[in-house]
Each structure stands twice: as structure tokens, then as C-alpha cells.
């Protein structure tokens, strides 16, 4: 069944493995605290560092939900509340989701998938990672300095960001600039690795889907992140040097800032979800024992999302000043993103159909991702309609929508991926019972937390408020209970990951009997990834191929759909 054919390889140049670079790289666990050049070490550094920030961001969310458990501002001061919501958004986006789904899994998996021994630019890779901890510490430290952290939300709209305490805002800008730089370095590295470091004989259209997702994501990163960087530098000039780029009192224009900001920050949504789409495309076929359905359309739909994702930014600005033609254009463009996205979801459902599905923790999280993301996508298409958006823009409806996308979507996939690849990372399985407990708590908690927020937004609760109309108290309390469940759900996860890393059941090299290249080596893999040549995997999803491959040109509908037990 395994299609890797180590015998018919072409000779590959043997790059020097990073570990043998004259003993400069530490061995053992110290590697993870070092300037290691090994893509697997860097991937895990991203992952662990991301989880630390996730717990910080989660604690900040806890502060928000505690404050909102009562209609009056009674838990933290209003200034602190605004700092907390700003930090929560910034940490979760720039220090958790973007680094983990791109840097974490990307660095670990992409070299395996293209048949390389490391990324194209290992030193740039290490630099990209090591920008993150100082940037995160800078952001956190601003909370303890004079005036506190930034208070203007993760969007930092001027003039508010110009008038709030300057030190916190400037440190926020510095931190985001560092993180944006890290993201750009990573993006360049992924593009170069995927396009130039493929093993001889491996075609682009034979790559695992995550490579395509990372290629699309990296294109978005490289095209749009510099725009954010330039915008934030101009904003910092407005704050420090009292220039007037975005300051209406000095002739500036705040709407220009919004255009520039969202030119990055809408693609940022795809930077957060496209890699998750890629990871799901790897996980579903393995646990359903079926080929990924519609490989070619999946590739094209990723690229369509990339192109469309660059031309929809102004749908965040329907209530600020946008001319009617722009509203119409951005409505249609935004709604049309649903088409390639829908293709991916239908393909995943078709992948599951007729499979032999193992409902383990990885699969539960992946399937819950489909449920959550479909709901978030439906509210997203609704939000793209200008008249609909006019009512619910900047309300809790939007908060619910994007948490269904980034938490219900991406974070669920991150958990799924951890259950799926933990055996590869450590050589040990995670505990299934704790995994399912984690899943049930997370799924219930998540939906309890965010589903009521749709109603709150529709009925008049704006976002980013520390106090609200008492008639919204009940559903806010339900939401806070959901948040508490989500917080509790991380406990079985933490126990599971830590305990299993040392005492888990040994996994063997390929516990899922998978075909993608990272499983065709030892667990954990050696420093140079494979003992010998990299395997040539031309059918990464070739499940079921040996027994009953159906010629589609001759197949009838009944053959395809009639008897799944065949």
C-alpha cells in the first residue's frame, strides 16, 4: 500500500545536517532553548511558545468574560479593560494563531512534505522564531509601564490610538512590527522551500495539500504584511513626531488608515485559516482511510481564496465612509469567497463519505472544525451584505462570527493537529480518554460562550464595552460560563500532553498507517529527517488504492455512492 519507493530515487545532494556543525548546536532538551537551525526544533519552539501565549491570551479573555458577567463595570477599571481587550486580540492573533499554524506546523511539516532535510534558509528561520519572544515580552511589559498597554483595540484606529497613552501604543506598534517581520521571514522561507527544495521527481501537483495552503498563505503574508508595517510606522510618526498622516486635526485622514490596516488584516484572516484548511486536508484522509477528494479543485480553491482575499478588505468599513460602488464591489467579492471555501468543505465531506472513520480525538476536533466554520462562514456571508452589516457591524454578532472562524475554525484544528502529530513529535501517543474529555469540554464551552453572542449583537450590544444594558445580562452570563468551561478544558489537555510526552504509550513510527512523508521515518525523526534518501511520495493520499480503485470515467453513480460497505 505504501507508495514510497526508496529504490528508484535520483541521487540527492547531501546537505550537512545542522547537528553536525562542529558541536555548536546543543544537544538534548537544550536545543529547544537555543538558536537551533533544525526545522523540527524551530517548529516545536513555535508551537510551545505559541501555547504559552495562548494561555496568557486565554487568561485575558477570562478577565473580559468576568467583567461582562455583570452589566456594570465592576471587575477592572475601564482603562484596564480596554488594555485587556487590546492585548487579548493582539496576543491571540499575532503570538498564537499566526505563529502556530504557519511557523509551528509549517516548519515541522513542510521540509518533510517536499522531501528536504531542512528549510531553504535555516538561519532566517531561526531569526524569524527568535523575534517572537522579545516581541511578546515587549507587548506584555507595556502593561506595567507608565500609562499601561495600548487601549485602542487590536485595530488601533486613529485618532483614538493617537490620543491614548503614547508609550503603550508605541510599544504595541514595535511589537507588531517585530511579529510582522517574523511572519514575512517565515513566508519567504516557505515559498522558497516549497518551490525550490522539492525532492527530484516530486511534482507540484503531488504535494500534500498543506504545502499548497502554506504556499497560498505565504504569498498573502509577503504581499500584505509590509502594508501593515508601513501603516503602523506612519501611525507611530503621528504619535511620536506629531505628524498628521492620520490625524484629522492636522489634515490627516483616518479612513485612509482603515483602508491600509484592513488591506493586511483581512488577508490576515486567511493567513490564520488557510493553513488550518491545509492541516485538516492532511488529517481527514488518514483517519477516514480515503483519498482526499478533489485534489485539483482543492488547489485551485486555495489560490482563488488567495486572490479574492486580497480584494475584500473594505467590508470592514461599510459603516465608515465608503462610496456606494465600493460597498457593492466589496459585498460581491466577499460573498464570492464563500464559493472556493464551500468547495473545500464539500470536498472534505466527500472525503469522509464512504470512508472507515476512526472517531479519535484528532478526528473529533477536525469534524467540529467543519461544524463551527460552516456556521462562521454563513454569518460571514451575511455580514458581507452591506444592509445586514450596517446593523450588526461592531457588535457582539461580529465577535461571535470571528470567534467561530478563528477559534471554532483554526484553534480546533490546532488541537486536532496536536493529537494527530504528537506521536511524530515525541514518539508517544496522547491519551484518548483525556483527549475526548478535552474535546467535549471545548466544544460545549465554545458554543456556550459564542453562540449567544449572535443574539446579543443583533439585539443591541456593541463590542469592546465594559458595561452594557442589564437586559443582556442573562446571555452574557451564559457566555461567561462557556468561557469558564473552555478554560477548564485546557486542563485535561495540558495533563495529557505533559504526561504523555514522558509516559505515553509508545507510538511506533507510523501509528496511523499514514502515507504522507513525515510518517515514513522514525518518531521522533532524526536530525536529517531520513536515515537515507527522502522517499518519493507521489500519491500522498493513495488510501485504498491497492484493492478497489475505481475508474471514474467508467463508474456509475451507484458504484460511487450506493454501497459504502464495498
Amino acid at each position: 500500500m505504501t507508495l514510497a519507493t526508496p529504490s528508484d530515487f535520483q541521487p540527492l545532494g547531501q546537505p550537512t545536517p545542522p547537528s553536525s556543525s562542529g558541536g555548536l548546536q546543543p544537544e538534548g532538551w537544550l536545543r529547544y532553548l537555543s538558536f537551533s537551525l533544525d526545522h523540527k526544533v524551530i517548529g516545536l519552539q513555535y508551537l510551545v511558545c505559541g501555547f504559552l501565549f495562548y494561555f496568557l491570551g486565554g487568561a485575558l479573555a477570562g478577565v473580559i468574560r468576568t467583567e461582562l458577567a455583570s452589566p456594570i463595570s465592576d471587575f477592572v477599571s475601564r482603562e484596564t479593560y480596554n488594555q485587556v481587550l487590546t492585548l487579548h486580540g493582539t496576543v491571540m492573533i499575532f503570538l498564537w494563531i499566526v505563529p502556530v499554524v504557519n511557523g509551528g506546523f509549517g516548519n515541522y511539516l513542510i521540509p518533510f512534505y517536499v522531501g528536504a532535510r531542512d528549510m531553504a534558509f535555516p538561519r532566517l528561520n531561526a531569526v524569524a522564531f527568535w523575534l517572537i519572544p522579545p516581541a511578546g515580552l515587549l507587548l506584555i511589559s507595556s502593561y506595567f509601564l507608565q500609562g499601561g498597554a495600548a487601549q485602542s483595540g487590536w485595530t488601533a484606529y486613529p485618532p483614538l490610538s493617537i490620543t491614548t497613552p503614547a508609550l503603550g501604543q508605541v510599544l504595541w506598534i514595535l511589537s507588531v512590527l517585530l511579529l510582522g517581520g517574523s511572519s514575512i521571514f517565515g513566508g519567504i522561507n516557505f515559498i522558497a522551500t516549497i518551490l525550490k527544495l522539492r525532492r527530484p521527481g516530486l511534482e507540484l501537483m503531488q504535494l500534500p495539500m498543506y504545502c499548497w495552503a502554506m504556499l497560498g498563505t505565504s504569498i498573502l503574508v509577503v504581499l500584505s504584511t509590509p502594508v501593515l508595517a508601513g501603516t503602523l510606522i506612519l501611525l507611530s510618526f503621528d504619535i511620536i513626531a506629531h505628524t498628521g498622516f492620520f490625524n484629522p486635526a492636522l489634515g490627516g485622514n483616518v479612513v485612509v488608515y482603515q483602508h491600509l490596516f484592513w488591506f493586511y488584516s483581512h488577508p490576515a484572516v486567511y493567513i490564520m485559516v488557510l493553513p488550518a484548511f491545509g492541516l485538516v486536508s492532511e488529517i481527514l484522509p488518514i483517519h477516514a482511510r480515503k483519498p482526499l477528494f478533489g485534489y485539483t479543485t482543492m488547489v485551485y480553491s486555495i489560490m482563488a481564496i488567495v486572490v479574492l482575499g486580497l480584494v475584500v478588505w473594505a467590508h470592514h468599513m461599510f459603516t465608515s465612509g465608503t462610496p456606494p460602488w465600493m460597498r457593492l464591489f466589496f459585498t460581491i467579492a466577499t460573498a464570492f469567497i464563500a464559493v472556493p471555501t464551500g468547495i473545500k468543505f464539500f470536498n472534505w465531506l466527500a472525503t469522509l463519505w464512504g470512508g472507515k472513520i476512526a472517531l479519535n480525538s484528532a478526528m473529533l476536533f477536525a469534524c467540529a472544525f467543519i461544524v463551527n466554520f460552516v456556521l462562521g462562514g454563513i454569518t460571514g456571508v451575511a455580514l458581507a451584505q452591506v444592509p445586514f452589516d450596517i446593523h450588526v457591524h461592531d457588535t457582539y454578532f461580529v465577535v461571535a462570527h470571528f470567534h467561530y472562524i478563528v477559534y471554532g475554525g483554526t484553534v480546533f484544528v490546532i488541537f486536532s493537529a496536536v493529537y494527530h502529530w504528537h506521536p511524530k513529535f515525541t514518539g508517544r501517543m496522547l491519551n484518548e480518554h483525556l483527549g475526548r474529555l478535552h474535546f467535549v469540554l471545548t466544544f460545549i464551552g465554545f458554543n456556550l460562550c459564542f453562540a449567544p453572542q449572535h443574539w446579543l449583537g443583533l439585539n443591541g450590544m456593541p463590542r469592546r464595552v465594559a458595561e452594557y444594558d442589564p437586559s443582556f445580562a442573562t446571555w452574557n452570563q451564559v457566555s461567561s460560563v462557556g468561557a469558564l468551561l473552555m478554560a477548564l478544558s485546557t486542563l485535561p489537555f495540558l495533563v495529557n500532553v505533559v504526561a504523555s510526552a514522558f509516559r505515553g504509550e509508545p507510538a511506533g513510527d507510523n501509528p496511523w498507517n499514514a502515507l504522507t512523508p513525515e510518517w515514513l521515518t522514525t518518531s521522533p525523526p532524526p536530525v536529517d529527517n531520513w536515515a537515507g534518501e527522502a522517499p518519493l511520495v507521489t500519491h500522498p493520499y493513495g488510501y485504498g488504492a491497492s484493492e478497489d480503485r475505481i475508474d471514474l470515467r467508467l463508474a456509475t453513480g451507484r458504484q460511487l455512492w450506493g454501497d459504502p460497505e464495498r
Binding site: 483519498p291 465531506l349 444592509p387 484493492e547
Partner: protein, 320 residues
């Protein structure tokens, strides 16, 4: 005995569509409707809700069915069917969402036009900034839009008598007066439009009635008559939102903006600031009181200061 699976699929599909339509029609998630465009909005919401419910229930149903029907039986280590794709199927699930999305887009465009959102910004601004300056000028036809433009330029100066506007010292370019939703929609529902000036600041909405030179912390409007709200922000971006009107418009410093609506249902509704504007953003709320025309006229008469007011106090403080 054996029912053809295509028949079952068809019946399930029909049941799904009916369930979605029923949900859209009967599950109400929206607050009271109190403006002329709220029912229009609600009909869009029903359509979107129905389509969304059909899609969500269908996809989740299919997913749950697959997970149960195709679960791996104990001891089964084999693979599923080696189906790698199906072009007709791909075409179907590309075309159907594309058609649905296009339909939704065109329908919401139509709704938007009925709500008055598609008027060009500059014409709109010129047309409606004018009455603010010429207080009893009455209706402007598009023909005298040129006078409208000139008058609009004087508009901020007229404000600054009662409320010192943020940029009162520099003339506003009339081409930069923006329109929110509503100009071509319910115009003229109750004769002449009522003009109200709104100044948004940290952390309050201040309403000014040029007609009676009243300054008020809450908005009083008559039912059934069009209101032109001329909005300016003093410091940072705010947003004027009345959930029961289904209307929201950002109020941006340096950018005079007009929002037009026609309240329909008498009552008191919240005005909410929807754009993060500082620590007390959550407390930046006010009330719009929609009154019967007679009650509104007496409110206006009661609160109009007797002398030409330079400093007017707010006579209206019944907090709802």
C-alpha cells in the same frame, strides 16, 4: 420494500428546505422594528436566515450521518473506497453556491437601494447639508444643488454658534460631506424633513435642533417624518447606532456625515456608540424618543428657549 435512495435523498432535501424556510419565518432574533427601513432589513434577515439554516442543517446533517454510517468497525483495518474525485459533483457544488451567493448579493443590493444606501455620496451631501445652514429653506430639488453646495460650505459656521464645532474654523469642503444610509428611501414620508445636528464626543451624544435652537442629550423625533441627522465628531471616531432602526453610521472627526431615517413606532429606544472611543465607550449611550407628531411639536415648543439662545440648556431630561 426497498425505497430508492434517490427518493429518500429528494425527500430529505425537501424537508430540509421546508425546515429552513420555517426557521427563517418563525424564529425571531431581532429587536422591535421602529423605522421605515427596519421591516425591509428584517425581510433580508429572514432570507439570509433561511438560506443559512438550510446550509447549516444540511452540512451538519451530512457530517453526522457520515460519522455514524461510515464509522470504523472494531477490528476493521481496511481502507475506504479509493475515490479521488468526481468532476460533475465538483461542478455542482461550485455552481450552486455561486448562484446562491449571486442571488443573495443582488437581493441585498436591492434591499440596500430600498433603504436608500446607494445614493452617490457627494450629491447626497450637497442635497442634505444645505437645510442645516438655511434653516427654514424647505426642500431642495436637484436643480438647485449648486446653491446647496454653497450653503453646505457655510454649514459648520452655523453650528458653531450653539456648539463649537471641532473644525469650525476651517470651511468644510461640501464634496466631503458623506451620506450614511437612507437618502433616497423614505424621503418625504411626512412632508418636510426634520433636521437635527449631532455632535459626538467622549463620551456623549449632543443633539441640536436648529429649528428651535434646542440642545438636548437625547434625541426626540416625530413618528412618520423623515429625519436628517447631521453628524460630526469632536475628538475620536464614534458610531451612531439605534438597533431598533437597524441603522449605524460612524461619526468620523473631520468628516461631516448625514444619516437619514424615518422613525415609525413611538417609544424610547437606545442610542449606542458602536465604535471603541475610549474608557467610557460602554457608557456612551443615549435615548431616542419617537413621539406622535403632536407630542413632538409640544416638546419642541416647550423646550425652545424664549430668547435667541447663545447658551441653551437642555430642557429635556426625562431619562427613559
Amino acid at each position: 420494500m426497498a425505497i430508492p435512495s434517490s427518493l429518500i435523498t429528494l425527500l430529505l432535501g425537501m424537508a430540509l428546505v421546508l425546515a429552513g424556510l420555517w426557521i427563517g419565518q418563525n424564529v425571531s432574533l431581532l429587536p422591535l422594528d421602529a423605522s421605515s427601513n427596519a421591516p425591509v432589513y428584517d425581510s433580508l434577515f429572514q432570507v439570509l436566515f433561511s438560506i443559512g439554516a438550510i446550509l447549516f442543517l444540511g452540512i451538519v446533517g451530512l457530517l453526522v450521518f457520515s460519522l455514524v454510517r461510515f464509522r470504523r468497525r472494531p477490528g476493521d483495518l481496511g481502507d475506504g473506497a479509493a475515490i479521488e474525485g468526481n468532476l460533475p459533483l465538483e461542478i455542482v457544488w461550485t455552481a450552486i453556491p455561486a448562484v446562491v451567493v449571486l442571488f443573495v448579493g443582488i437581493y441585498s443590493y436591492d434591499i440596500y437601494e430600498r433603504m436608500g444606501g446607494m445614493a452617490p455620496l457627494n450629491d447626497h451631501g450637497a442635497l442634505h447639508a444645505a437645510p442645516a445652514a438655511a434653516q427654514h429653506h424647505g426642500h431642495h430639488s436637484p436643480a438647485d444643488a449648486s446653491t446647496g453646495v454653497q450653503l453646505a460650505a457655510a454649514s459648520p459656521a452655523a453650528h458653531s454658534g450653539a456648539i463649537p464645532a471641532a473644525d469650525g474654523d476651517k470651511p468644510a469642503d461640501p464634496a466631503r460631506v458623506w451620506g450614511g444610509i437612507g437618502v433616497s428611501g423614505a424621503a418625504g414620508a411626512g412632508g418636510e424633513a426634520l433636521t437635527v445636528d449631532l455632535t459626538a464626543m467622549q463620551f456623549a451624544f449632543i443633539f441640536h435642533y436648529p429649528q428651535g435652537n434646542i440642545i438636548s442629550g437625547e434625541l426626540h423625533v416625530p413618528a412618520g417624518r423623515q429625519v436628517d441627522l447631521h453628524m460630526e465628531a469632536r475628538d475620536v471616531i464614534h458610531a451612531f447606532w439605534v438597533p431598533q432602526f437597524r441603522l449605524k453610521q460612524d461619526v468620523i472627526p473631520g468628516q461631516p456625515t448625514v444619516l437619514t431615517f424615518t422613525p415609525t413606532r413611538p417609544g424610547s429606544y437606545p442610542i449606542v456608540c458602536a465604535e471603541l472611543c475610549g474608557p467610557y465607550h460602554g457608557g456612551m449611550r443615549s435615548t431616542v424618543v419617537v413621539e406622535e407628531p403632536d407630542a413632538f411639536d409640544s416638546w419642541l415648543a416647550k423646550n425652545t428657549p424664549p430668547a435667541p439662545a447663545t447658551v441653551a440648556d437642555s430642557g429635556s431630561t426625562p431619562t427613559a
